[in-house]
């Protein structure tokens, strides 16, 4: 088996992986290699042709392809190496990667440090268990987007979208702009999953109905989808008898959640957080296995690529330092735990003596609330489960944490919004 030696090996060449690889190079790593199973770098961004990317990182309003091209170009200019069409098969603590591709066959990489940037995967119909026929015409949102905007096929003409998260809304708009009729976006929860901006600009602009507290109860059609049954649901999300009706359509698009992709991490014995589905990471984005770092959607599903980039940069500079034997271990380890009204907190471990940006997700929509982390209070005007909340633990705030081993981060008062 061929063997390669690297300072930093990055698994995944999307937004997170490219941020990690470029930052590792910029901060002194000599040999940096990115591995990706796709035939081009960029991850999901080349197919996200809408605007709204880079407002934080570049202070510009870019499309997905424009955003990621900047990182691809930067990686090339810095001399980051890549192996595409390459599947990573195994990760071993101690920095060994086993991978395979067509030209090289099976090969081994010995890396001083590894960055995991595998991203996330879409939930599928199988994960939901929607009953009915199994005709063609059922796509995940990402597949529909790829067909339209990378491969140049129109997946359907009359479309129902299940799931009102931002991905579902944006795909609904793409179908509408390309001349398809979007019959409805169906959402099981009583409130929309996506941003208000996207409800207006993706649905209202195109007169697409949003059916809240509804779900798809069956798929119809022999060869191709001919329609779906939708029904109202009760508070528990169970369909209400007698409310079912059929919407004729040729396509059902599923936008029903994203799951961090961590089979490799699990196999390597990395501790995962059941709340995020991703590795438990500390302030350096280091996992429970020394020398293996993680970033982006593999850690938790982000709503902004700009934040993905941030975590990638942290992981990249940490990995470069580790490769040189210069990464300071955290003197103090404060374990963050989600409290009332908070679904998860990342990173799960902070130093408690260095400033850090912490991301969290709320359980329910809230307004005029306060998030309390020990003695530190963060006022929160408004937050919804779809939008991550960013808490800046500044130098001054962090002082209040000295000596703590655990920190609960929870909502002080909660006023649910209708």
């Amino acid at each position: 088996m061929n063997e390669m030696t690297e300072d930093v090996a990055v698994v995944g060449g999307g937004a997170a992986g490219l941020a990690a690889a470029t930052r590792a190079k910029e901060t002194g790593a000599e040999r940096v290699l990115v591995l990706d199973r796709n035939s081009e770098l960029g991850g999901i961004l080349p197919q996200c042709v809408h605007t709204g990317f880079g407002l934080h990182h570049f202070k510009e309003n870019l499309t997905g392809p424009e955003y990621i091209t900047r990182f691809v170009d930067r990686a090339r200019a810095l001399g980051v190496e890549s192996k595409l069409d390459t599947m990573v098969l195994r990760l071993r603590p101690g920095g060994e990667i086993v991978a395979a591709n067509s030209p090289d066959g099976l090969f081994k990489i010995k890396a001083k440090s590894i960055v995991l940037a595998m991203g996330c995967r879409e939930r599928t119909r199988g994960a939901l268990g929607i009953p009915g026929e199994r005709p063609a015409g059922v796509f995940t949102a990402g597949t529909a987007q790829r067909l339209m905007d990378i491969e140049g096929f129109m997946p359907g003409k009359r479309v129902v979208v299940l799931g009102s998260g931002d991905v579902g809304l944006i795909v609904a708009r793409r179908f509408a702009v390309e001349g398809a009729k979007v019959e409805a976006v169906v959402e099981i929860l009583p409130y929309p999953g996506g941003l208000a901006r996207n409800i207006i600009q993706c649905l209202e602009d195109f007169d697409i109905p949003l059916l809240l507290s509804h779900t798809v109860t069956a798929v119809h059609g022999a060869e191709r989808v001919s329609g779906v049954s939708v029904a109202g649901v009760d508070e528990k999300g169970n369909p209400i008898a007698g409310t079912e009706r059929t919407i004729p359509c040729d396509t059902l698009v599923l936008s029903v959640g994203l799951i961090p992709e961590n089979e490799l991490s699990e196999e390597a014995g990395i501790v995962l957080d059941p709340l995020t589905g991703g590795p438990v990471v500390d302030q350096h984005m280091e996992t429970s296995v020394p020398g293996i770092f993680a970033c982006g959607n593999a850690v938790h599903v982000h709503d902004l690529v700009d934040h993905v980039t941030e975590t990638g940069m942290t992981a990249g500079s940490s990995a470069a330092k580790f490769a040189r034997g210069e990464l300071e271990t955290l003197r103090n380890r404060v374990r963050m735990r989600p409290g009332s009204g908070v679904r998860y907190v990342v990173p799960q471990i902070i130093s408690g003596d260095r400033p850090v940006t912490v991301y969290l997700r709320v359980r329910n929509p809230v307004r005029n609330a306060t998030i309390r982390a020990g003695d530190i209070a963060f006022p929160l005007r408004a937050a919804r489960p779809a939008e991550t909340v960013t808490l800046e633990f500044t130098e001054r705030r962090i002082e209040k944490l000295i000596g703590k081993a655990e920190l609960e981060v929870g909502m002080e008062e909660q006023k649910p919004v209708d």
Binding site: V49, G52, T63, D149, I150, I199, Q201
Partner: protein
């Protein structure tokens, strides 16, 4: 007599998502109520008087490593012209290569806005992708 109307507009300037009640006489805003900050007012007035949107889509590429190329408008366009722009671009055929940032269509439909490529598409059969 100008017609008096009221519209409810959800403000999208920040995550608060205030619902503004906009009173209008004809096409002119006379009163905005329900916002909790001043930043939202400009958005809400534009949204009722002359709503603008970023435009983005894909165009068909001939002889490229990819059959389509994503594009966008250099500036926002009037909301009610989105479908006109889409139909206009649907008839277009662009020959590879295309460079990111390259103008694909100048002054689309006389809106004073150009359509530019948002990625590069190399020529099919040439060595190296893009």
């Amino acid at each position: 007599m100008t017609e008096k109307t009221e519209r409810i507009i959800t403000c999208i300037v920040c995550p608060m998502g205030c619902e503004a009640t906009v009173s209008m006489e004809g096409k002119k805003v006379v009163k905005v109520e329900g916002l909790t900050c001043s930043r939202g007012e400009e958005y809400v007035i534009n949204e009722v008087e002359a709503p603008m949107r970023d435009f983005f889509s894909t165009v068909i590429i001939e002889g490229g490593v990819s059959p389509v190329c994503p594009v966008r408008s250099t500036r926002p366009i009037p909301k009610d012209r989105i479908m006109d722009c889409s139909r206009k671009l649907a008839r277009l055929r662009v020959t590879a290569p295309v460079r990111i940032g390259e103008t694909i269509m100048r002054d689309i439909l006389g809106l004073g806005v150009d359509i530019i490529a948002t990625r590069s598409v190399g020529v099919l059969g040439e060595k190296g992708r893009q």
